[in-house]
């Protein structure tokens, strides 16, 4: 599978000359499968730019379909939806899986974003594409786009966010026939300074790529623990404990300049090495970058 980063920033888009290298758009990641399937994870402002690219292909002709996974409904994870071109092309279809516990609740939440006080779209019903909203069932694997997807609920400040474990089976007989696994774990609260949650580690275990919340430098996290984000230390500790192949740092604080993120990435490398994770590859998420598993 091919993973691409469309938005890597946390909380609110951060335009400006000082965020150009890593990018200022909020959370959105695409996963293209070997068999041509498409999974989109989170709908931050990066989604608008993914949409523009998709319109050049089958989505422009109303012949596209994709699965969308939503971690939670904070603005920085849904703001791109009203600007996602493919939902305005009749014939396209989207299956959206997210939190909320019931499909009615999740649909209501997404409707709230389109409320006429806030959005000229007024309601999701004004989308021209098929847009089916369903609640993800925790612990029950979902099969979509030829992938197996499971979700886990992480603490995230006063609320929770879903993490997703996505597995693509290898083709029998080919070299590297083993399955490949990508875990998306953004907006992961670390309520205490202790080690990583064993259940979370079990969920990440053995992933080829773990994308993990690395919103903060440790010093900043210390004063903002209630906000429900991880530092690069937390990300490194989880990656080492779970024995993953590569770690992707993600969801950088909106106030961090590119130089700050460079420092965060260098700190994360040292944290991995210091914890016995020298073999773990470190991939800082950068808007536009692509990663192949």
């Amino acid at each position: 599978m091919k993973i691409r980063f469309w938005g890597v920033r946390g909380s609110i888009p951060a335009p400006g000359p000082e965020t150009i290298r890593y990018g200022g758009n909020t959370s959105c990641v695409s996963v293209h499968t070997r068999s041509g399937g498409l999974v989109i994870i989170d709908m931050g402002t990066g989604l608008m730019h993914l949409g523009d690219e998709l319109l050049a292909g089958p989505f422009g002709a109303g012949a596209g379909s994709a699965t969308i996974l939503l971690s939670h409904a904070h603005w920085d994870h849904i703001q791109g939806l009203g600007f996602f071109g493919p939902v305005f092309v009749p014939g396209n279809s989207f299956a959206v899986w997210g939190p909320g516990g019931s499909s009615e609740v999740l649909e209501e939440i997404l409707e709230g974003q389109m409320d006429p006080n806030f959005s000229p779209l007024q309601t999701l019903k004004n989308f021209s594409a098929r847009f089916d909203v369903q609640a993800m069932r925790l612990g029950v694997p979902l099969t979509a786009e030829g992938l197996t997807i499971t979700a886990r609920e992480h603490p995230h400040g006063a609320t929770t966010a879903l993490a997703f474990r996505i597995t693509e089976r290898g083709e029998p007989g080919e070299p590297g026939e083993a399955s490949r696994t990508f875990v998306y774990a953004s907006d992961v609260g670390q309520p205490t300074a202790g080690g990583p949650d064993p259940d979370a580690v079990a969920f990440y275990r053995g992933a080829d790529v773990l994308l993990h919340d690395a919103t903060y430098l440790p010093a900043d996290q210390a004063t903002r623990r209630n906000r429900g984000f991880s530092s690069y230390e937390d990300a490194a500790a989880a990656a080492v404990a779970a024995g993953v192949g590569r770690l992707v740092t993600f969801h950088y604080d909106q106030d961090y300049s590119d130089d700050d993120v460079d420092e965060l990435v260098a700190g994360c490398r040292r944290a991995l090495d210091g914890r016995g994770g020298a073999a773990i590859g470190l991939v800082p998420a950068r808007e536009g970058d692509e990663l192949e598993i």
Binding site: R9, S11, I12, P13, A14, P15, G16, P17, T19, I20, G23, G24, N25, T45, M48, H72, A73, H74, W75, I78, Q79, G80, F83, I109, G112, Q113, D115, P116, N117, F118, S119, P120, L121, Q122, T123, N126, S128, G157, A158, T159, R227, G228, Q254, E287
Partner: protein
């Protein structure tokens, strides 16, 4: 007074290389009367940066006061509010003015600001916040400044504001469609209506009345800030989105006899080079037409001193 632009973009913030000169933050303009608290128009993502700057002043010690005039509550005009640092400091006083809604204004902002969309509810803000619902055409005093307003042509309507202070006037007209082809209200239009079909006479009359009010509001202003999200060609494809174009802005500026016209609410996809080209083109058009006003294009960090600065 001083006028400073913190966010000049429409619809959605657009970070990136191609927008870094004009800026990718959404609508937010700071008006600073001489020796008086700021009057802020719109609370798009530009408000986050303004908030940080204000924390260097009285707001950092909880002694700040600001008024925020909201044109309308579409996301690109309110998204910065939860990230406005002065709200998180006890002692600061923030007054928010917006056109009245069916629901109480505070309820509208609470919906935007609370679960499941944002982690900190409005009720948890430390600063003292008050909400003031305005009727269209409202006129009132804010310290030494006089504020006047009128209705714009935008889905679910928006308000234009005029701020008179320090012997100068600035007028903010965003978001609005031209007052010629359709009257935008509560109805949602899936596709662009035909611009060639004749309008019912009552709609024509209402649009003419609205345009006359906008021209009257802007009469003789030192600075007119105007929604020019579209080019004229783009407008014809999406008139129902409720945005205007520079040709219309020039006509309003001419009729109102303003001194400067500032193009504003740039389309998300407009690159810096596109904005340069549009500005050059309309400076040329204004010069050829013998217009006496100066044409500017808003960018983040642009600061203008007007009247007694």
């Amino acid at each position: 007074m001083k006028v400073r632009f913190w966010g000049v973009r429409g619809s959605i913030p657009v970070p990136g290389r191609t927008t870094s000169r004009y800026g990718g933050n959404t609508s937010c303009v700071e008006i600073r009367p001489r020796g008086a608290p700021p009057i802020i128009i719109d609370a798009g993502t530009g408000l986050r940066r303004l908030g940080k700057a204000l924390m260097e002043e009285a707001f950092g010690d909880g002694r700040g006061e600001a008024s925020i005039l909201i044109s309308h509550t579409h996301w690109d005009h309110v998204q910065g509010l939860p990230f406005f640092s002065p709200l998180y400091r006890a002692g600061n006083r923030i007054r928010i003015f917006a056109r009245h809604r069916d629901t109480h204004l505070e309820a509208v902002f609470s919906q935007q600001h609370g679960a499941p969309y944002f982690p900190v509810p409005l009720s948890a803000m430390e600063a003292e916040m008050s909400f003031h619902a305005l009727t269209e055409g409202a006129r009132f005093a804010l310290g030494g400044a006089t504020i006047a307003s009128t209705r714009l042509n935008h889905p679910w309507t928006a308000l234009a504001y005029r701020v008179d202070v320090d012997r100068a006037a600035v007028v903010y007209c965003s978001d609005t469609a031209p007052f010629t082809d359709l009257l935008l209200g509560r109805e949602f239009m899936v596709c662009a209506p035909s611009l060639d079909r004749p309008l019912p006479p009552d709609v024509v009359a209402e649009l003419a009345r609205m345009r006359a009010s906008v021209v009257a509001l802007a009469a003789g202003a030192d600075l007119l800030i105007y929604d020019t999200q579209f080019t004229r060609e783009e407008y014809r494809l999406r008139p129902h989105w409720g945005h205007s174009h520079p040709d219309d802005a020039l006509a309003i500026a001419r009729d109102a006899g303003v001194r400067r016209l500032c193009l504003f609410h740039h389309a998300p996809m407009r690159s810096d080079d596109d904005n340069d080209a549009i500005l050059a083109r309309y400076r040329g058009i204004a010069a050829a037409a013998g217009d006496r006003f100066e044409v500017l294009s808003a960018y983040e960090g642009l600061e203008l001193a007007l009247g007694d600065a």
